[in-house]
Symmetry: none
Subunit: 406 residues, 2 copies
């Protein structure tokens, strides 16, 4: 399953009202569309404007309305902090506060180095039987994980999401003892982080260099680690994933997929698509299911850059040579190419428009579609599908579906 | 509603990548597709690999995840043993055991005659307020029905599904008193069956002839009779069914349809399709809804015999002359032709691929499809439908749908 992140789009005037994918020269994807069966996929359901996280959960066959508990746990897992069911994870910023506790820089000057030492200094605290894990992320980002009995994510953010104001107290958002207990632990943690970080060697050095010290950690967006059935167990598959995006890495880690690191896979527009798809083909030797996320189209969509998005599709298409080669050599590969959502360059954000889906491989009933694109997919033999129907269809075509009934 | 059992398929190389249905010469079905509206039907939902039983329930508008309680009750009803809600039915084998209770033949030499007398000898036992009904099936098969209060299907099989081992004790699979009570009754029954059958005249004769005696009855696959609303009551229709398959007969009996026996309707590849469809047209005189199952395509699919499957479609097509004739004479027939699942010859078992559906009759909006087949149906005006949408559509087209709202 190859996901062209944010791949769907809307008509672009400078492309004669074609979408970037339609305007791009994509002979390999077109050949796969011609071999296979095509359709339009609504990542969650018609018109639903999905996030990348919720959409991927849906593509993997989970109900995001049931298992998605907020971004915290998925970001935590992406950063390598795996909680257990009931643990509460927060995304955090290293920030700069003055002596009065007023925030002077929400991102501590987008601090780039030393956060590993700062996180270490905070890691392993305990309060009232609650264990606290802290792990640095990219730049000023970090994760706080609370582990213990009787926790709740119904607590307010400490990060006020703006500077020139005192950081906030974490407040319970309902009357439960769990929310009160969690809020107390968070407040204890924030005070301690200020106390410990203000005198930390990394910050003393930063102050000597005239840089804002990362002297407090501000949690936000708490979420409970969900009780998700592992993907491998759900489908009876050994599964691997290749992704350069922390959030998506978090999802596949939480689902128990084997995460494969690929040299040059950055999750950016400069990512080595060819290396990722080559690694995916190799991973089929030891796995039944291999997932690849290519983030670049989404980035171009958010930037509103139609020409870049078109060019990215052409580079991705060239990388598909390795997939076509593998499928010519062996007849047991069922390939799905789709997107997790549209990120139209005219919107510069996710939209709820459906995305093209192609499925190719031995046993597939081909339709008359000969091009991979939004409009061509309208005439495909798959018609319209919701994201959660994709895995059952792939299990069916690969001979891995269990029979219901006699 | 005519169901071509297991009719859907995948591309077959020797037919130039056409499916058996596409490769077959089917002028009558093509004419009906041309008159009518077409689409692809997912018997339960996209990619779901259905049994015949669960799929038929779905086609009749029931949720199989709700009403399907295992094969036992449907096989029982098919054999003419109708239980009430809460009764527990088992499929059984007449088997041969030695003096130590070790199974020497799981099918008692596939005994062909005398099982009616053996079943009679066991029928009508009572244990602890539980009434036991026993009825012979085809060859070595039989049904055991337990009727009484406080029963459960959460009990293990007595049949070990292999020979050279002692038959098993029926054990409760949960902690409920119902499961314990049911298991006790089953164990009592099995011991009694051994006791009664070992000395039965039929078996003494078999032993004299050097045949393995059918000296025990081994239950398996217990299921509770479901609480299914009768089809006729659900839709306000008088309904009849023509089917040669025990399992499907069981389903339509449980749904309260009037079962019509047709001379020459065997449920095999030699079945008289013409007689069945002629009987179906006649049955329209006294019924609002007539259902026909033609089992033969599924048999050819399971056998992996593409040429046979193609030939069967051609014979079925010829039989459709009587339907075309009836529809030319009267304008109140709404016809649906579809399948309960695909049984691709390349898979030799059911798959989750959708099946073609045609609906023809007065008032139907025809589309541009002029052929009855998997690929032609991709372009049909019905698009993709799930099995449970079929009955509402047929009620609508036949002017029998109730208005919801004002």
């Amino acid at each position: 399953m190859v996901v062209l992140d944010g791949g769907g789009d809307r008509p672009v005037p400078e492309f004669g009202e074609k979408t970037p994918l339609e305007a791009a020269y994509t002979p390999n994807l077109d050949a796969l569309a011609g071999m296979g069966i095509n359709g339009l996929l609504h990542p969650i359901a018609t018109g639903i404007r999905t996030g990348s996280d919720t959409a991927h959960l849906s593509l993997f066959g989970y109900d995001p309305y049931e298992v998605y508990t907020g971004r915290g746990p998925f970001e935590a897992a992406g950063a390598g902090v795996m909680g257990k069911k009931g643990d509460v994870a927060f995304r955090c910023n290293f920030a700069t506060v003055n002596e009065e506790g007023e925030i002077t820089d929400r991102r501590a000057g987008r601090i780039r180095s030393g956060t590993d030492m700062l996180a270490s200094a905070l890691n392993g605290m305990e309060y009232n039987g609650i264990m606290m894990t802290v792990k640095e992320g990219t730049e000023h980002r970090a994760i706080l994980l609370l582990h213990g009995d009787g926790l709740s994510a119904a607590v307010s953010d400490v990060d006020p999401h703006k500077a020139r104001t005192h950081f906030l107290r974490c407040e319970p958002l309902d009357d439960s003892p769990e929310a009160r207990r969690t809020a107390e632990a968070v407040n204890y943690f924030v005070e301690e982080s200020w106390h410990i970080l203000r005198n930390h060697e990394v910050n003393l050095m930063r102050e000597r260099d005239g840089l804002p010290p990362a002297n407090i950690l501000l949690p936000r967006g708490g979420g409970v680690f969900p009780d998700i059935e592992e993907f491998g167990r759900k489908y009876g598959l050994r599964a691997a994933a290749i992704t350069g995006v922390t959030l998506i890495t978090g999802i596949v880690r939480l689902l128990g997929m084997n995460v494969i690191d690929v040299e040059g896979a950055t999750g950016g527009i400069d990512s080595n698509f060819s290396a990722k798809l080559t690694a995916a083909v190799s991973a089929l030797e030891k796995n039944h299911f291999v997932f690849v996320n290519l983030k670049a189209p989404d980035i171009a969509g958010h930037d509103g850059d139609a020409a870049l998005k078109k060019e990215i599709f052409e580079r991705i298409d060239a990388a598909f040579t390795v997939i076509l080669g593998a499928m010519a050599e062996r007849d047991d590969i069922i390939l799905a190419v789709t997107s997790d959502h549209s990120t139209p360059v005219s919107v510069m954000d996710h939209s709820g428009d459906p995305v093209p889906l192609l499925i190719a491989g031995h046993g597939v009933r081909p339709d008359d579609v000969a091009e991979f694109g939004e409009r061509a997919a309208m005439n495909g033999g798959l018609g319209h599908m919701n994201g959660r129907d994709l895995m059952p269809e792939l299990l069916n075509l690969s001979g891995r579906a269990e029979k219901f009934g006699a």
